[in-house]
């Protein structure tokens, strides 16, 4: 790190104004869920006598509020929980550990998704989506596999890459521009089975937050978004078992206290068994197929002292595919996170994390007497130190540092007969970040969250760096020793968001952020594949940069029953990657020579109405947006629509509780077809018909839309045991949504070319049985 660049940060520390009198005392503590002891993230802690004095609990449920000596009432609230008011006589620093109870509407006897806070209006956070798996568990999904990633794609500004595709696009960014974190560990491929399912087993998850913009300075590493997934801590009150049996998979979760209210653990497992049905198939080829995936989530936490708490969490998931003994293909992620919370004082909270992440795939082939393997992996070790400092009730300062050691093992073949590619040439890089941010209440109307992050990336040896000529051939090379810097990048990432409170129920927010991205995913196919390659920034590949500004209006109606927001954004992206004509990415040791670099821009408006309380809940989201790209070598240097340039995107999600026991749900999705390059003509050379192209992405796929419905029947619900059935239908009206449109010769008339549409899912019913005790 450059010391010179750190110095301005220390100056920054003194930007906020604080007047700390000797008479001030601090109330600190934690807020938890009374049912299971889970930490409540983002719960609101307010002084009733002075509502300006408000703080939100951090991701470990910790809060700290400092104010003048005196008598107060402190109000604790969180969406879906009953409000608690605690009178306090403040004459010394006080610790208050609070447990909130979930709201139950006694009149109807139905748990309506209870009391809601107006945090969406009052916080400085914008362009942020929070989902709890619990709140969306009845939404109908493909094969009945609850999937938080698919639900996120029904939110404004987030576009799924389509059926059979793993990724998603946030405000025009690429699929590799999303930082996906599972308990702080980056996940490099969040999909199972070519993207039909995500790796996130909802049973193990507590909360998901997706930042489309205005990212806090504590996050860095990707250009467009952060998807922050947090696993449950495990029930610290009692043993709890839950599970389900579905059409293609079964799940089981066990959680229990290690010592009551001191520590707990959770183990959650899921495995699919789609291939078991294949054994019944009459087709000899299909009988030979093995195809399944599994996930294992584990987490334990323990409070060692009043000030110290340890967390250990891990994820292990694998997809396996095999055809007889000839082809084997497996891929998967492993992550582990060790965290240590330490409360230095009632005002200073610290978390230290040691994080491991690995993604790899392997293809095994054997025929006759030869076998060989194709392998690739990316592996990270990450050390992260974060502090939350609460100097007074108007400021919450967070600062921290992290350093990641990346090891890339590029695709290579080893086998009995052949060795090809970089078997030994691992690539190494160090990525670092240092940040400071302050959430400051200026006055009743205005709150700011401003921060600055400095990120750096050092592509280091041991290795050989090449430079390439225009035709892609190596023109020079240089060897580097272990740890020697090949190329160093770094940059400042300012992050600012502001909230202006118009009145009690409405606010205007604005934000601006810059993000650097030093890792890039190379994929030149229309569908994502487990073999898509992560590469580091290097002497040839520059870091991607995105600058975004956004402004929004937020208003709640009917005592927070309805949340309404409108946001607009403009994003400019630099050093974007595209591919040379005819680029070969798979098993290419000179893959960097196949890339071209350009710029992108995205802008749009997002409309969102969310009804949170009552028998009918759900949301309507509409996004109007454009995403364009420009490369000197592509499309004659003219701007062209990106593949994800969908102009209209609509999602309607509704959940209706008919009775205490029967819940209906449905969602309808519509979006403009992806931009695609289709031929404008054809010609014949060497006896073969060749398509003639005019504009990149100048055509459009047909619009996508579908309706899914589901019904959940709670068979039994007592304090001790709960069981339910869920039946759902995906694509009820059997819409032909194109997965791919290809062109082929008409069988009867070879002179005739016709367009052939392949659709994946038309009317797919599913059921599952779920239990909990």
């Amino acid at each position: 790190m450059h010391l010179k660049k750190i110095l301005p940060i220390s100056a920054f520390l003194f930007l906020f104004s604080s007047t700390i009198f000797a008479q001030n005392f601090t109330v600190s503590g934690t807020v938890k869920d009374s049912r299971n002891g889970e930490d409540l993230i983002g719960a609101t802690v307010t002084v009733k006598e002075n509502p300006l004095k408000t703080v939100f609990t951090n991701v470990y449920g910790f809060y700290s509020l400092t104010f003048l000596k005196g008598s107060y009432t402190i109000v604790y609230q969180a969406s879906g929980f009953d409000k608690i008011e605690i009178p306090v006589v403040l004459e010394k620093d006080t610790v208050l550990k609070i447990q909130l109870s979930a709201t139950v509407d006694e009149l109807q006897g139905v748990t309506v998704k209870g009391h809601k806070t107006n945090k969406n209006v009052t916080s400085t956070e914008m362009s942020t989506i929070k989902l709890e798996p619990k709140a969306i568990e009845t939404i109908p999904v493909l094969f009945g596999e609850k999937d938080i990633m698919k639900t996120l794609q029904m939110m404004p500004g987030i576009k799924g890459a389509g059926e059979g595709n793993a990724g998603f696009y946030v405000r025009g960014g690429g699929v590799d521009q999303n930082l996906i974190l599972l308990d702080e560990a980056p996940v490099y491929n969040a999909s199972h089975v070519l993207g039909f399912f995500s790796i996130f087993n909802s049973d193990a998850l507590k909360d998901v937050t997706l930042y489309k913009g205005g990212m806090p300075a504590e996050f860095g590493g990707r250009a467009s978004s952060v998807m922050d997934v947090k696993m449950k801590d495990g029930n610290s009150k009692k043993l709890a078992v839950s599970g389900g049996v579905g059409l293609i998979s079964s799940r089981l979760t066990v959680e229990a206290p290690i010592k009551k209210d001191k520590g707990s653990f959770i183990i959650s497992a899921r495995r699919t068994y789609a291939d078991l049905f294949l054994k019944l198939s009459g087709n000899a080829d299909l009988k030979n197929v093995t195809l399944y995936f599994y996930d294992l989530n584990m987490k334990a936490n323990y409070t060692i002292t009043k000030r110290d708490r340890l967390f250990l969490s891990g994820y292990f998931g694998q997809d396996k595919f095999a055809f007889g003994s000839q082809i084997g293909f497996s891929w998967g992620n492993k992550t582990a996170t060790l965290r240590w919370n330490h409360i230095f004082s009632s005002k200073l909270f610290s978390n230290t994390s040691l994080i491991f992440s690995n993604y790899n795939y392997q293809i095994d082939r054997s025929f006759s007497n030869q076998t060989f393997q194709i392998k690739s992996s990316i592996q990270d070790y990450n050390l992260k130190q974060d502090f939350s400092y609460y100097p007074n009730s108007n400021n919450t300062i967070k600062f921290g540092v992290n350093i990641i050691d990346h090891t890339f093992s590029p695709t290579h073949i080893t086998g009995t007969a052949i060795t090809f590619g970089d078997t030994l040439r691992l690539k190494h890089a160090l990525e670092g970040g240092i940040y400071i941010q302050n959430e400051q209440k200026i006055n009743k109307k205005l709150s700011l969250n401003y921060g600055l992050r400095y990120s750096m990336f050092d592509y280091v040896g041991k290795g050989t760096a090449y430079t390439y000529g225009n035709d892609g051939t190596r023109i020079s090379q240089q060897d580097y020793t272990s740890g020697q810097s090949i190329k160093l990048y770094g940059g400042w990432e300012p992050r600012i968001s502001a909230r202006y409170q118009v009145n009690k129920v409405s606010s205007i927010k604005a934000s601006m952020n810059r993000n650097f991205q030093y890792l890039h995913l190379l994929s030149n196919a229309t569908t994502s594949s487990p073999t898509d390659l992560w590469v580091p920034s290097s002497n040839n590949v520059k870091p991607q940069i995105a600058n975004q500004v956004a402004i929004g209006y937020f208003r709640n109606f009917k005592n927070n029953m309805y949340e309404v927001s409108v946001e607009t954004y403009y994003k400019k992206m630099y050093n974007q990657i595209d591919y040379k004509n005819g680029a070969q990415l798979f098993l290419n040791t000179d893959v960097e020579s196949e890339l071209v670099y350009g710029q992108g821009k995205a802008y749009g408006a997002e409309f969102y109405v969310h009804k949170q309380i009552g028998k009918l809940t759900g949301w309507v989201s509409y996004t109007l947006s454009r995403t364009l790209r420009q490369f000197d070598q592509v499309n004659n240097g003219n701007w062209f629509p990106a593949r994800q340039d969908r102009i209209h995107d609509i999602a309607i999600v509704a959940m209706y509780d008919i009775t205490k026991k029967i819940k209906l749900s449905g969602n309808w999705i519509y979006y403009t077809g992806n931009a695609i390059t289709w031929p404008a003509g054809k010609y014949i050379v060497d006896g073969k018909e060749i398509p003639y192209f005019t504009q990149r992405n100048g055509s459009r796929m047909p619009a996508y839309h579908r309706l899914d419905i589901g019904i959940t029947w709670i068979q039994k619900k007592t304090a001790k045991y709960e069981s339910s059935w869920n039946i759902s239908i995906y694509n009820v009206y059997a819409r032909w949504n194109p997965y791919i449109i290809s062109f082929q010769q008409n069988a009867a008339n070879p002179a005739l070319t016709e367009a052939l549409e392949t659709s994946l899912f038309r009317f797919v019913p599913a059921f599952s049985y779920n239990f909990k005790f």
Binding site: A274, V289, R365, T527, G582, V634, K682, I690, L756
Partner: protein, 267 residues
Amino acid sequence: MKNIIYIILIIFTASCQRVIQIDLNSADPQYVVEAKLFEGTRDFTVRITKTSNYFDTVTPPSVNNAAVNVSSSTGNSQTATFMGNGWYKIPNYNAINNLTYNLTITVDGKVFTSSAYLPSHIAIDTITIDSTMGGGGPGGPGRGKRYRIRCGFTDPANVKNYYKLSYITNSGNPSNQRQYDIFDDRAINGLQTSNNLRGRFNEGDSVEVELESIDAKIYDYFNTVNAIAGRDINNNASPANPNSNIVGGCLGYFGVFTSDKRVVVVK
């Protein structure tokens, strides 16, 4: 990879297919040039056509009013004779290895030019026929005895070489098309090597194997035309017109090839 993805799709989806009508953009017709010059004394031929709309069923329109000239870096400038239906020809043009050849086509006030290098002759050393049991992949085994053919040759060291290795099975059958692979010498530089032909062959097949050496730009043309030729399910996300070695705004290419051919009968 493609097979794997295909199988996974079959299993997880009741995927269905249908023929649909789609609207494509139309474009002004472009000139298409297919010019081929071989080492030694052989006919130099050029075919000039135009593009047609993608869904048209008519044969592509031919261009019959062009002036075609070819010359080498040492002279030997000759003008081709129009043969009808878009064809132009110089009979028995003598092309000498290690010279650059220039093509000039003038049509409707437009001028298309290209130059290409004719590399040294590369000879086929050996043709090897191996029997194989099916091969990997679904439905592979149990299909009886089939054969692979390998073409052996020696790559010259010290120079960058680009190859086109092609074959046609039972060329008397008009429905059989010539298949080819292209590759460069990055993995075989200076080595005596033996490359598999892409296909599998049956007993009794007559196979004509041809090894051609080409320059970098022609290699680039074949490489980029291959990228858009396939219509497989995992197709290219960013298709573009092939990189032509002809300047002036036309499609197609000026091919200058060395050539060595062998015919073998599989047994």
